[in-house]
Every structure is written in structure tokens, then in C-alpha cells.
């Protein structure tokens, strides 16, 4: 549980730093792609961040909204991948 909260914080910090958005506007449930936080390049950078920070490599089949649409979704995806290892 502590890990999940910690991971969410890391993802949120990454997003704030790299999208120049106001930190007050982003919640764990904010729909990042619907709200225009990331374009193609931003998404590719986010994937690289996830790989480096959490040592998790998403496969092409895993690049779906359910896994990346929000901080909640990303943290959940990372946690599931870690458990599966």
C-alpha cells in the first residue's frame, strides 16, 4: 500500500515536471490523455520513465488506456507487473 502511494507520488512528480502543468490541477484520477497532458512524444517519454524508475517494460499489447489513462491506472499497472515478475 505504501509502495503504491509512493509510486503515485513519483508518477505525479514526473508529470508535473515534464508537462509544465499546475500541480493543483492534477489528481490521481485525472484522465491524462483526455485532458491533453501528453502527445505522442510525451507518451513515449512517460514509457521510458516507467521503465527506468520502476524497471517495468510494457509490451505493445499493454499500451492500452486501462493501463495509462491516469496516475491511478499507471500505478496499478506498475504494481501488477511487479507482482507478476
Amino acid at each position: 500500500m505504501e509502495n503504491l502511494t509512493n509510486n503515485k507520488q513519483k508518477i505525479k512528480s514526473y508529470i508535473i515536471k515534464n508537462t509544465f502543468k499546475n500541480s493543483n490541477n492534477i489528481l490521481d484520477s485525472t484522465l491524462l490523455f483526455q485532458e491533453g497532458y501528453f502527445d505522442s512524444m510525451g507518451f513515449a517519454l512517460l514509457l521510458e520513465f516507467i521503465e527506468e524508475e520502476f524497471k517495468v517494460s510494457p509490451s505493445d499489447d499493454e499500451l492500452i488506456e486501462e493501463n495509462f489513462e491516469s496516475i491511478d491506472a499507471i500505478a496499478g499497472f506498475v504494481s501488477r507487473k511487479k507482482t507478476a515478475e
Partner: protein, 329 residues
């Protein structure tokens, strides 16, 4: 004030009702823009043997007179030789003078190929540019998802085997930045001839290329006037047929002609065939609801909502390409 009733959405909505009248409107404006706004004697056009540059050349010849138009073929090492043959045929048909300016030497000077190939080798160490081919692209299915597409790199071995990998950001950016030397070198050459002749550079991007950002800033996006910049691709084809553009050009699949491996524009960027893309973009731009569009396009409302979101994202993320230098300080 009269309120115009919105036309019911249908697959015929983009059919040009009076092509002759539209051509007159474009050519009158083009003549006015070149002569009275830009104060130039004529126009130079980069011709690739594709339908967009062909229609642009034909419209320019009508607007400015064949003698006041120069078509320039700008091949480089990776260009398909068919492009030059078709471009020459087009210029002959419209009695426009054409010249060829090979830009390979300039690109070697910029180390365009070397910089690109270095990035490709980071991903596929076995890649040998003298025997392998390469391209980058996105998956079609991506358009139905709210997630932006992720680019992959494909190499084709001498025996024809294809290998693909997701492109890391640094290598992606280096391949694109190096390849963009091609469009920017062409733009420099077009302006050389334009200035030499006191002509304008007539740009060839169509509506999708401009709106969705499928052009290189200060490359093929570098021009003085873009006479087909408001036309959907299927409308460009309608005009091409009306103007008598050679059938081989009309039948040719639009390619990027940028990478060594054959690659369609659909595969590289649009993710949809042009007939569908045009209708969906029109619907999006004119605020048709997913409910109105769904039965016509035979797509679910959910898919249409996702496609519209993708369009919105493309406009937003490519805004930078359409911006002039910011100077309101």
C-alpha cells in the same frame, strides 16, 4: 441574420458541387495573391509526382500562365525514381518548364544520412544502410484509442525479412530531425530559384497536412502561398481528375518518399484511408455528433469519440508547427 441549416452528414458531403467554379475561385485568388499581395511575377513549385504537387502545379499554370511557373524536381539518394518520371510527365502535360535539382550532395554535407543511420544502428546494430532499408511508422489500431501512437522502427534485411522495434525517444527524435534536412534542403533550393526569378514559392500541403501537422516546419511548410491548403485529400483527387492530371499520378498511393523502405502516408501518420479520414475530419470540424456520424461511417459512437479526441490531440500537439515566431513582447 440568416441561420444556415447544417447539411445532413453523408458520404457525399465532400463532393465538390461545381468543380469549375471552385477552380476559378482558387486560380483568381492565387493570381491576386502572387501578383498583387506578394508582388511576384510567377511561382516555383517542388514537384514530386504526387497528386498534391501535381494539382498545385496545374492550378498555378492556370492562374499565372505556364510561362510564369517553374516546376522543380528535387530528388535525393532515397527518392523513388518513379517520382521524377511522373513529375516530368506532369510538367510536359501543362507546358510548364521543369528542372531537376539533386539535393543528395547538400544532404551529405548536413550528414543527414549519417546522423539518421547512426540512430537506426543504436536500435538494430546489424543495420547496414547500403543493403538494408528502413522506415518508421505507427499502428492503425492506435486511432481508436485515446493513447497517442508510439512510433516503431522497421528495418528490412537484404533477404526481405522485416524486423520492428518500438523506437526510444532519443533515437526517434534523431531520425526525424535528420530526415527533416530533406524537406528543408528542398525549401532552400525552391527559394533560390524563386528569388532568382522574382517568383513566389507555391506550397503544396493539403488541408490534412496543414491541420494535422504533417509537414516539416520551414521545410515543405515553408512557402509563400498554399492554394490547396483548404482542400481535403478526396477533393484534391476530384480536382486532379477534372484538370486531367496523368492517371498514373492519380492512381499512385501517397507515400512519404522520405525513408528507404516504401511507406504510405497512412502507415506513417494518418492511420486511416483518406476517404474515411476526410469524412471524419469534416464531421469533427463541423461539430457533427458521434450519433450522426456513426451510421454513415459504420463505426461505433465510442470509436468516433476516440477518433475525434485523437484529432483534437493532433491539432493541439502540432500547433507549434503552424506558429510564426513569437514576437509580441
Amino acid at each position: 441574420m440568416s441561420i444556415q441549416k447544417k447539411e445532413k452528414f453523408s458520404t457525399e458531403i465532400l463532393n465538390i458541387k461545381d468543380i469549375g467554379q471552385l477552380i476559378d475561385k482558387i486560380t483568381e485568388k492565387l493570381q491576386n495573391d502572387v501578383q498583387k499581395v506578394l508582388h511576384r511575377f510567377g511561382g516555383v513549385i517542388g514537384i514530386s509526382g504526387g497528386v498534391d504537387s501535381s494539382v498545385t502545379l496545374a492550378l498555378s499554370a492556370l492562374a499565372l500562365g505556364s510561362d510564369n511557373v517553374l516546376g522543380i524536381m528535387l530528388p535525393e539518394h532515397d527518392s523513388n525514381p518513379e517520382s521524377e518520371t511522373l513529375a516530368r510527365k506532369l510538367a510536359d502535360k501543362f507546358k510548364v518548364k521543369s528542372i531537376k535539382e539533386e539535393v543528395t550532395g547538400a544532404l551529405e554535407g548536413f550528414k543527414c544520412y549519417e546522423r539518421r543511420d547512426k540512430a537506426v544502428k543504436q536500435i538494430f546494430p546489424e543495420y547496414d544502410p547500403t543493403t538494408y532499408k528502413m522506415k518508421i511508422g505507427v499502428k492503425e489500431s492506435g486511432l481508436y484509442s485515446l493513447l497517442p501512437p508510439v512510433f516503431s522502427l522497421t528495418i528490412i534485411t537484404p533477404s526481405g525479412e522485416e524486423k520492428s522495434k518500438r523506437l526510444p525517444v532519443n533515437e526517434y527524435r534523431q531520425i526525424v530531425a535528420a530526415s527533416n534536412f530533406k524537406q528543408r534542403s528542398r525549401m532552400s533550393m525552391l527559394y533560390y530559384h524563386a528569388e532568382r526569378l522574382h517568383f513566389a514559392v507555391i506550397g503544396t500541403p493539403n488541408k490534412h497536412e496543414v491541420d494535422q501537422g504533417f509537414f516539416v516546419k520551414y521545410g515543405d511548410g515553408g512557402a509563400d502561398v498554399m492554394p490547396i491548403g483548404m482542400l481535403y485529400k478526396t477533393q484534391v483527387y476530384q480536382i486532379a481528375k477534372h484538370l486531367g492530371i496523368p492517371q498514373e499520378i492519380i492512381d499512385r498511393t501517397p507515400t512519404t518518399d522520405t525513408y528507404t523502405a516504401e511507406q504510405t502516408q497512412e502507415e506513417f501518420f494518418y492511420q486511416l484511408p483518406f476517404d474515411k479520414m476526410d469524412l471524419l475530419w469534416y464531421a469533427f470540424e463541423n461539430n457533427y455528433s458521434p450519433g450522426e456520424v456513426s451510421p454513415v461511417m459504420n463505426l461505433s459512437e465510442k470509436d468516433i469519440r476516440a477518433i475525434f479526441s485523437n484529432f483534437q490531440r493532433k491539432i493541439k500537439s502540432t500547433e507549434y508547427l503552424r506558429m510564426s515566431p513569437v514576437r509580441d513582447y
